[in-house]
Symmetry: C2
Subunit: 404 residues, 2 copies
């Protein structure tokens, strides 16, 4: 344990896995701090302390609603992105089921490159009889929007996909998707809802709902310098959901459990900060990321880039060096002081390489050799040089299995 404590004080580590989670920003921490041991009353209490906590939560909700261009009542605080995704999808289908619609007659359209909190949630509904359809994804990792149109049917209830893919960083054309689905709804008198998982977006892309045109959007504070354990499901007022957790009727009846004042305040602070400066941040980090790709091309000519280079979030570098095991690369990079990953932390330890890269490339060797680097606000040019050098060292050290 002593060794452990010393470790945390080391300064020379290079962190390049910001998509998995971020530290809490000092400003965010400062905002949260009073709500642990000072202003700790239950927001449902009717005495002064409770009322004041309620006002803090209402204020935070209004602040968030303002930056997302929705009503405060559209913002449901959850325990994180995973819960937001579960609530959006299960909540919608259970609500429809409650109105008498059989599971077997409901269809959800998604892709095969989603985060486990989407795919596993859909699998749980598939067990109930709901039909899941998959939009083709091109080799760049982008949704084929015309193909999506051909999948829509009178039985379609929901289209759900990530705004930014958590592994390869590919940005979907959400506006185009929502425009198309809305046109379909108008023409066919249907109500297909659109949900996007925007957990990887707030630091790098605009998330206002009027602009995106979606009905529901999931956010997670722990991916954008806020605390872990808190997220938001933004749900426009015309969408009816059933809760997935039952109890005291908090969060407009959508999410039971004592309101977590500190985490809610921290979540809003982080999201507001993320959205306020997304453009400048994005431009700055994109420049670094492109430098990263340049260095890779220069020093590791065999590396293949996974996912579109043009429709790509500012902080994502995802490559495969076929023949070099991705997981082993991550461990070897770690030994050299560089933190990277093979894929989403939620998908780690499940073997068989990156399902996302497998899907877009159809190439198992490529999926097994995936390495994801994701930059943060703190990332610098020197970090990238060190990461590429570490990768080069690893390759020099290893004889690839395919080049025996």
């Amino acid at each position: 344990m002593m060794q452990g404590l010393n470790f945390w004080k080391q300064k020379k580590r290079i962190h390049l896995d910001y998509a998995s989670t971020t530290p809490v920003h000092p400003e965010v921490y400062k905002a949260m701090q009073p709500f642990f041991s000072e202003k700790w009353a239950n927001a449902s209490a009717i005495y002064t302390e409770g009322v004041m906590v309620r006002e803090v939560i209402d204020g935070a909700r209004a602040k968030l609603a303002h930056i997302l261009n929705v009503r405060p009542a559209d913002c449901i605080f959850t325990s994180g992105g995973t819960e937001s995704n579960n609530l959006a999808i299960i909540g919608l289908i259970e609500n429809l089921h409650g109105t008498g619609i059989a599971y077997e007659t409901m269809e959800i359209i998604t892709t095969r490159i989603e985060h486990p909190s989407i795919t596993e949630t859909l699998r749980s509904l598939e067990k109930r009889g709901v039909v899941i359809r998959y939009i083709p994804i091109d080799s760049d990792g982008r949704i084929d929007v015309p193909a999506l149109q051909t999948l829509l049917s009178p039985q379609t209830r929901l289209v759900t996909c990530a705004y930014v893919n958590s592994e390869i960083g590919v940005i979907q054309d959400v506006k185009k998707i929502s425009r198309m689905v809305r046109a379909w709804n108008d023409a066919h008198d249907t109500t297909v809802r659109i949900h996007i998982d925007a957990c990887q977006a707030p630091l790098w892309l605009p998330c206002a709902l009027d602009m995106l045109g979606v009905d529901m959007l999931s956010l997670d504070a722990g991916k954008c310098y806020g605390p872990k354990g808190v997220g938001v499901l933004v749900k426009r007022h015309w969408v009816s959901l059933n809760p997935i957790m039952f109890g005291g009727g908090q969060e407009m009846g959508m999410r039971a459990g004592t309101e977590n004042t500190a985490l809610i305040v921290g979540c809003v602070e982080a999201l507001v900060r993320a959205q306020k400066y997304w453009k400048a941040r994005s431009e700055k980090i994109k420049f670094l990321r492109d430098f990263f790709f340049e260095k890779i091309t220069e020093k590791l000519p065999h590396a293949l880039v996974n996912g579109s280079l043009t429709h790509r979030v500012a902080n994502n570098v995802n490559i495969s060096i076929v023949g070099y095991d991705g997981e082993y690369a991550v461990i070897t990079l770690d030994a050299q002081g560089v933190s990277a990953s093979t894929r989403s932390a939620c998908g780690v330890g499940k073997g068989n390489g990156s399902a996302v890269v497998q899907e877009i490339s159809g190439d198992t060797a490529r999926a097994l050799s995936t390495i994801r680097f994701t930059l943060g606000e703190e990332s610098a040019r020197a970090d990238i040089i060190r990461a590429v050098d570490a990768l080069k060292n690893y390759m020099t050290l290893m004889k690839p299995q395919t080049e025996n």
Copy 2:
């Protein structure tokens, strides 16, 4: 807002609503603090920082398991007591349903005095067809154990009740209940599971599972000087549950979502502290509570005590002063600097008085005039004197509706 900030610095407020939530204890806060902005890696990451966070979480889990006398893998961290209760009940029934058992053939036995996170969860299952049966409760608020036995049938799957009632503080004889259910299981070759909601217990009563004999137990950190937004479902290894949230398969596949290191560490710190000193704390506060009851008898002879005086948690004082509206009393007490409540914060704002007091007394006037005081570690004799005086002032001020 300025007024608000000044308010928090006032020192003269008397808090007597510790059952609704507690502040985070300084020791607990200190334990959590490093995991926001220093040791913030994702526990699923395979590089050094991730592995060290994983070790911290594993260490916390082992520490908790030790004081509860269970295996570490039996402790599932959740977002709080509400989620723990939902997971225990829905998780069990969905798991049985998945093995081919029809909802309509499953029965759950509970009481009519449970917390909304139990009653609303059961209501959601009732909509699927599950049959809910209610154990008679005596006028003291205690479960009629022989009557429970007559409710057991081959279709019974679960018995669920609170260890300590959150409103009237009545302690159920969990040992007797579990012994009886186990004997029934042995005699009838059934597997009726026992779940208890122990969210109000850790500060005042022993919670080790071997002693209680239950299969599942819910805990909440925010009720025992830990952070809000985190709890535990203790589930013995022989119980199979389905998760209620799907994703990255964290928490042994039982609860998806990035592990919330800070809150998990805080939760364990709070629960260990709560259990370590429960006996001394209980004795000390019981003494104060009995003084509270004496003062009430002396100054407010019309007050009726709700719930058993002998089988009662150390910190609970719940009375009715018939004819005096409970909610109005709480507001008037608040104006005099005393925080109390009418019932569980999760049940507030739903009108019609305390459902618990209604159930045990069958007296609506009594249910409408309920006032709950719950003491904390910080409570002192002077607080009680002031609270009783404030209550007396309120009664002097008001003409009761029934005494026109």
